[in-house]
């Protein structure tokens, strides 16, 4: 039992820390997220050069063959800077699907591009009726001429506008919320019949609703086993949850430090407001919430390799904790900053918003508490 980082991981941690300090001071973040793309291509290239895009890919695919802990170290660091590049979508989700479910040809073709920064991906799964249920898929893929034709609508696909390809779930069988019958396809973002309605999100990322109208793909676009994609989706989404946990811990840590500092410097009634016991105790509760989230981030990361049930229960528990901690830390950081906390010019509100979106992504605390129960 050991909770410490290896020397290599510590170096990686330092490297991410430098990247965020150099490229993501708050004013820079604002500029980057104000561009039409919402992120900086040169940052993306830098990430590729540093090897981060391939950190979890097998070595034969140009990756580093790293462990979930490496991904955690990167995401926790990126969380401190609200880093906007599509790391989660491309590397954790996209890379996860390709590594775990891609055909040999697909892996050989796509993974080196991904590692090199030449392939951005987005995962198009949620639908208007599905809320957070991964098995609730209506979008259809009908076999036709050796391939498939897809029809349907996916909502709030983070990072879709910049993606080169989409990973889309669709029903090749079954209906409603049946676990069987779901398949995954790798589709060009620009393929005929793929329509994006792009927009900005609360956390200043870019997302889109994606309509699929008679989108034809060949059989080689299938990821994983036909009709049997749900366990793969669950596995990769659990990896995404672990990554979100790490990212949220980075964000909470930043808010904890920022707010503590504010309490030390802001004066009212002739003294730093950090002298007031009620605010001290609130700040302690913020610290505790952050530390509990950190513990769960470590826990789920180390359980990603366990059998599905144990892995998913760990992910569900972690998601509950980071959702609740994140909301509390974000909201209280605003409260303790008083009027200043309400200003868009301060970083605090933006961290709070990202934490709120992290709670929602792939299911909020209520959803995962139910999942945790179901998996007992």
């Amino acid at each position: 039992m050991d909770f410490s980082l290896s020397d290599e991981q510590r170096q990686l941690q330092d490297s991410v820390g430098r990247f965020v300090r150099d490229r993501y001071p708050f004013e820079q973040w604002r500029k980057i997220t104000d561009t039409p793309e919402g992120f900086a291509g040169e940052n993306w290239r830098q990430m590729a050069e540093l090897g981060w895009l391939g950190v979890s890919l097998p070595e034969e695919a140009g990756g580093l063959g790293g462990s979930p802990v490496d991904t955690m170290v990167i995401l926790e660091g990126l969380g401190r800077g609200l880093v906007a590049e599509p790391y989660l979508s491309t590397v954790v989700l996209g890379g996860g699907f390709l590594v775990l479910g891609g055909t040999p040809e697909m892996r050989e073709r796509e993974l080196p591009k991904l590692a090199a920064g030449d392939l951005k991906l987005a995962f198009a799964h949620a639908e208007t009726q599905s809320r957070f249920s991964l098995e609730d898929v209506v979008t259809s893929a009908k076999a036709a001429g050796g391939g498939y034709v897809l029809n349907g609508r996916k909502i709030v696909v983070y990072d879709a506008p910049a993606a080169d390809k989409l990973i889309v779930s669709a029903r090749t069988g079954g209906a409603g919320r049946e676990r069987e019958g779901i398949s995954l396809f790798l589709i060009d973002r620009d393929a005929p019949g793929v329509h994006l309605r792009a927009y900005r999100t609360l956390d200043r990322r870019r997302a889109a609703d994606v309509t699929l109208e008679k989108v034809a793909v060949d059989a080689g676009a299938l990821i994983g086993v036909r009709d049997q994609a749900l366990p793969l989706i669950e596995q990769v989404v659990d990896h995404a949850i672990a990554a979100l946990a790490a990212e949220s811990v980075g964000a909470m840590q930043l808010l904890t430090e920022t707010t503590t500092e504010y309490l030390k410097t802001r004066k009212q009634f002739g003294q730093p407001i950090g002298n007031f016991q009620a605010l001290q105790h609130r700040m302690v509760d913020i610290l505790i919430a952050t530390e509990q989230a950190r513990s769960m981030s470590y826990m789920v990361t180390m359980k990603l390799d366990r059998p599905a049930r144990e892995r998913s229960r760990a992910a569900a528990a972690a998601k509950v904790q980071i959702g609740q901690s994140g909301r509390f830390v974000g909201q209280q950081a605003i409260q303790l900053h008083g009027g200043m906390g309400m200003s868009d010019e301060l970083n605090v509100g933006h961290f709070a918003k990202r934490l709120m979106m992290i709670d929602m992504l792939y299911g909020n605390a209520d959803h995962h508490r139910q999942r945790f129960i179901a998996l007992e």
Partner: protein, 394 residues
């Protein structure tokens, strides 16, 4: 003890309902109900309609153009208008108006009160400063006498609607040599006076309703002083304590709750309506019950004040619970949207159609701006200090 309304009260309710039905412009009603942004023009339009009926200032004495309503009538009026009609902007009608008719001189009353009623003057409030938030009495903006004028220099912040205002009522320091509270005066300042600069503060909802106001060598006629020099703190406290009936925001929270239930009937979870989801329903019922307790606490305090007892520091309970429940409801509304909570463009003006369902309009801005419920008007931490000291004697 009796919960029922008298026949007169019920008749009054009918009268209010009929008036709204007959007079509220349909487009404004639609925008209020959809939670879309209301412009100053919308608010002014509705205030003028009310004023024609003599209803623009429910809290004012009749002789100044108020209604002379009982506390119960005002409660009914709030219930009927909340979430249906545009809220009346409080700075003139609920804040400086009562200060003027209570402490102002005859000229001030004659000049300002009709202009407030007719929305000829739109007011804002110059209290907070960058260094004086919770510790309001430490304010530094100074007013130095110069003949029949004051020269005002200072920096106000969190000034809602300053960019749309004709007038600002300001707390200023006219004497730095006495105890903090005793050197403060209450001054009315024309926003067009040279030396005043308004800088927008964009809030976390990306909307613009709040500003900084810089006062640089601003000449204010002495006739704009309310009451006596050095008594401004008294008037400010009067003002804070005066308008307590709306502080609990019960009528608004009830409307928010109803809207939330409607959304939860439309949203799906696991194939069924969200409102049938036990966990969600449980949270909803919990907040509904808390709101009910707040409503009856509010009614108890109203009932006291109907018998002439002014609302005391226990009214801080209304602020604390009202803001907490308001925040909870706005948060649950956002949560109810699932993934469609995420798209966010354009902020509070609501000019963009929501990406998700129509009912998503305005919910996230309301949540974000609502984080201020527990901060402004004396943060909830300050309110708890007040109760500890004034009610519990700690």
């Amino acid at each position: 003890m009796d919960l029922s309304f008298s026949a007169e009260d019920l008749a009054f309710r009918g009268e209010v309902q009929a008036f709204i039905t007959d007079n509220l412009p349909a487009e404004i009603r639609r925008r209020v109900q959809k939670g879309e942004h209301l412009s100053k023009e919308d608010q002014v339009a509705w205030q003028l309609i009310l004023n024609q009926r003599g209803w623009a200032a429910p809290g004012w004495p009749k002789k100044y153009g108020g209604t002379g309503w009982t506390v119960t009538q005002r409660y009914i009026f709030d219930e009927e208008t909340a979430g249906v009609c545009p809220p009346l902007t409080p700075f003139g009608l609920s804040m400086v108006g009562p200060v003027i008719y209570t402490f102002g001189n005859p000229e001030q009353k004659a000049h300002y009160l009709p202009r407030i009623l007719k929305a000829q003057d739109w007011w804002c409030q110059g209290y907070s400063e960058p260094g004086s938030g919770s510790d309001l009495a430490s304010l530094k903006t100074k007013a130095v006498a110069d003949g029949d004028h004051y020269i005002v220099d200072g920096h106000k912040i969190w000034t809602t609607q300053a960019h749309e205002a004709d007038m600002i009522f300001c707390l200023v320091r006219t004497d730095a040599s006495v105890k903090q509270q005793e050197g403060i005066s209450f001054l009315l300042i024309d926003m067009k006076t040279p030396g005043i600069t308004v800088r927008p503060i964009i809030t976390i909802d990306e909307g613009h309703s709040i500003n900084e106001v810089f006062l640089d060598n601003v000449r204010v006629p002495k006739k704009n002083l309310i009451g006596q020099e050095g008594k401004g703190w008294t008037y400010a406290k009067f003002l804070l304590g005066h308008e307590r009936t709306g502080i609990a925001q019960v009528a608004h929270s009830k409307k928010r709750l109803a809207r939330l239930k409607a959304i939860a009937r439309a949203e799906l979870v696991e194939g069924g309506p969200l409102i049938a989801d036990t966990t969600f329903r449980d949270k909803l019922a919990q907040v509904e019950i808390e709101l009910m307790a707040l409503e009856y606490t509010n009614l108890r305090i109203l009932s006291e004040s109907a018998k002439g007892k002014p609302p005391g520091p226990e009214a801080s309970i209304l602020k604390i619970r009202g803001s907490e429940i308001g925040q909870r409801l706005t948060e649950m509304a956002v949560e109810s949207l699932g993934y469609y909570a995420a798209p966010y463009e354009g902020g509070r003006d609501g000019s963009n159609q929501p990406i998700g369902p129509d009912y998503a309009a305005g919910l996230m801005p309301a949540f974000l701006y609502g984080r201020a419920f527990t901060i402004y008007g004396g943060s909830n931490e300050i309110q708890r200090n007040v109760i500890a000291k004034m009610v519990l004697g700690l």
